[in-house]
């Protein structure tokens, strides 16, 4: 990558121990397993995967909101450099102002008992970023304006707002501490398409204007295709393919990515039956299959896939693929 990454992830694993299991070993959920990832400063980085793929956990690990089992996550914005695995309390407090999360559900994320002004002001007050109420008000108004909320809106309670407006409130709240890095976890999934486009356009313009770096977590590939410049595809705790967006959508190389793209319902009624169907569902992360994690559903899996875990291969142009057969499949695809 040309620029220095803002977030650099090396061999990151997040495992959760479960209760019970009786005799022997307690079951462990390998939510994120040996992930390597660089997020360039100023990029709109997409993370896609099915539910249970570990994308939310990975996002939270980058915010140090879940304990990291193994590996390293480094945050470096030029001003400060934090190693998130060893970060101390005081530094973590500072990191929280620099890295923020936008939640999925704009209905659950906002307290019904607080006015919009108080909701947006809360991070400033909790983090002690402003000294006076006037100062807080100025910051709140400024960010609210960016998110197209007016003074009248600030006096009201969240119930008076539509989904799109509520999501704009959540965005304002996340941005008020002037963060550098934003994890947006399914932030438009709960919105109507006509509104979704509006929020996406807003996120993109704010990102460019404020020079933010986004990790945009989504299950919706068409949304990711439109808004992100780089995409990572996750499956069962592993990254299976990462590439610049256009490259990934024009020529996906991992069989899972191909299947995912093909499963998106096309707007053309004559495309019916053309989707490449994946059998079964994502296996339980407590009991992942040996070898390649995708082998149980992969239409082209062979012996080696069942035994040996593929490494993330560098295919050039920032395109990485974790598949034993990607080169071989490339040849059959072009035939």
């Amino acid at each position: 990558m040309s620029e220095k990454p803002l977030i650099s992830v090396r061999d990151l694993s997040v495992h959760f121990g479960l209760r019970g299991g009786g005799f022997g070993k307690k079951p462990v959920v390998r939510a994120v397993d040996s992930v390597d990832l660089d997020i360039e400063a100023g990029s709109f980085f997409g993370l896609v995967g099915e539910s249970g793929s570990g994308k939310t956990t990975l996002g939270r690990a980058l915010l140090r909101a879940v304990p990291i089992t193994r590996g390293a996550v480094t945050y470096d914005d030029g001003e400060v450099r934090y190693d998130l695995t060893t970060i101390q309390k005081a530094e973590l407090k500072d990191y929280r102002t620099r890295a923020q999360l936008i939640f999925q559900d704009p209905y659950a994320a906002l307290s019904p008992r607080m006015t919009v002004r108080d909701i947006i002001a809360e991070p400033l007050e909790v983090m002690g970023l402003t000294r006076t109420r006037e100062e807080t008000d100025v910051r709140v108004r400024k960010i609210a304006e960016k998110c197209r909320l007016n003074l009248e809106h600030l006096r009201r309670f969240p119930h008076a707002f539509s989904g799109g407006q509520r999501q704009r409130i959540s965005i304002a709240r996340a941005l008020v501490s002037k963060p550098r890095f934003i994890v947006a976890d399914e932030s438009v999934a709960a919105l109507d398409v006509s509104i979704q486009a509006d929020v996406l356009n807003l996120l993109k313009s704010i990102q460019q204007e404020m020079g933010l770096t986004f990790l945009f977590i989504s299950h919706d590939l068409s949304v990711v295709a439109h808004i992100c410049d780089h995409v990572a595809v996750m499956y069962l705790g592993r990254l299976v393919e990462t590439a610049p967006t256009r490259q990934l959508f024009a020529a996906p190389k991992h069989p899972y990515t191909k299947a995912l793209l093909s499963a998106i319902p096309s707007l053309d009624p004559d495309d019916r039956g053309k989707t490449q169907k994946l059998e079964g569902e994502i296996p339980s992360p407590t009991n992942p299959p040996p070898g390649c994690k995708f082998q149980t559903r992969c239409p082209v899996a062979i012996d080696i896939c069942r035994k040996q875990e593929p490494k993330l291969d560098h295919a050039g142009n920032n395109h990485n693929i974790a598949c034993h057969r990607w080169q071989e499949l490339l040849e059959t695809d072009t035939k």
């Binding site: 068409s222 319902p265 707007l267």
Partner: protein, 332 residues
């Protein structure tokens, strides 16, 4: 195609503390056996309320319009749904002839009863199956909607399942009584695309197997394009456009339908900017006079669209649109 459902002049209002609000306004459509009708619209457009009216599932403050007629054609003859009042009358349709899959699977399962017991219970209410038979069928249905290890899941509670799994369990439950009409309210919205593709396939299989009609409520036009035979577009309680799925998606007539399609991120061309429809859907308390879409419509005709309610005009065979742009007989 045999007729399955006739809805005529469905109007539904709710008495609330803030006044009487109109949720559904003079909606008419028909559905044939084995037909999949997509009902599209944003949240607040009244699509869920319309669907719930078919089972009279709306709360007590619901007031149906006098001219509302809902007829379900069953093997034993037509059933006038508006004439059903007591819960024992309604048992014929609720969970029997009509099943519904809801948007929120967590809210639809009882939290303290296992998935399996809930499935068996409804089968025993609506069929004369033995408990053992009902259990077998339930496990089979769970496996069929793509739930691995179905017999274990059968014994689990809703909270133990992932969101997607819960939704699939609900689809399994709704389909196990083999309803004549399935109302699916955003059934695949919570599912992953690969699972969504499987569920869509499953639903198509069941349509051809049982000749069941489906009303598929969704905001995802892609899902509609891949599943529905016909589509009805709803906005603020009114139908604004309806017709065969190809017609409506390829040559949308109503400005709202056009706007919905333009707002959709599409994969074939990543350079097309996403165009939101300006503004928000108005509150049902402040329904605009005239055409309900006039407050957000870029081509609204001053003095006409803000005053007169547009009537349905035929723009192509079976393709109707309620918009003043088309009402003077000029076929575009």
């Amino acid at each position: 195609m045999n007729r399955l459902l006739d809805v005529e002049n469905l109007t539904l209002q709710f008495d609330t503390d803030e006044g009487r609000i109109t949720a559904v306004d003079n909606v008419s459509f028909t559905l044939g056996a084995g037909e999949v009708m997509g009902l599209v619209g944003e949240s607040g457009s009244g699509k869920s309320v319309t669907a719930k009216s078919l089972m009279k599932l709306n709360p007590d403050n619901a007031i149906y319009g006098d001219e509302t007629k809902i007829i379900l054609h069953l093997d034993g003859g037509p059933v006038d749904i508006m004439s059903l009042h007591t819960s024992s009358d309604l048992k014929v349709i609720r969970g029997g002839a009509i099943s519904m899959i809801f948007q929120e699977p967590m809210a639809s399962f009882a939290p303290a009863i296992t998935i399996g017991n809930q499935m068996v219970e409804q089968l025993q209410i609506h069929t004369d199956m033995t408990a053992k038979k009902a259990q077998e069928l339930s496990i089979e249905m769970l496996a069929r909607v793509g739930i691995s290890d179905a017999s274990t899941r059968f014994k689990q509670f809703a909270f133990e399942l992932s969101g997607g799994m819960r939704q699939r369990a609900m689809i399994a439950m709704a389909l196990s009584t083999k309803p004549k009409l399935l109302i699916a309210d955003e059934p695949t919205t919570a599912l992953d695309v690969t699972i969504q593709a499987q569920v869509i396939d499953l639903m198509k299989d069941l349509v051809s197997e049982f000749g069941m009609g489906i009303i598929f409520i969704t905001h995802d036009l892609g899902v509609i394009a891949q599943t529905a035979d016909s589509v009805a577009v709803m906005y603020l309680g009114r139908l604004v456009e309806q017709g065969p799925v190809r017609e409506v998606i390829r040559t949308p007539a109503h400005p709202y339908t056009k706007g919905l399609i333009a707002a959709l991120p599409q994969l074939d061309d990543l350079d097309v900017p996403l165009t939101p429809i300006p503004g928000d859907i108005p509150s049902p308390l402040e329904r605009p006079p005239g055409c309900v879409f006039n407050t957000r419509c870029a081509v609204a005709i001053e003095g006409l669209c803000t005053r007169e309610i547009p009537l349905f005009t035929q723009v192509a065979q079976k393709h109707q649109v309620a918009c003043h742009l088309y009402s003077e007989g000029d076929d575009k």
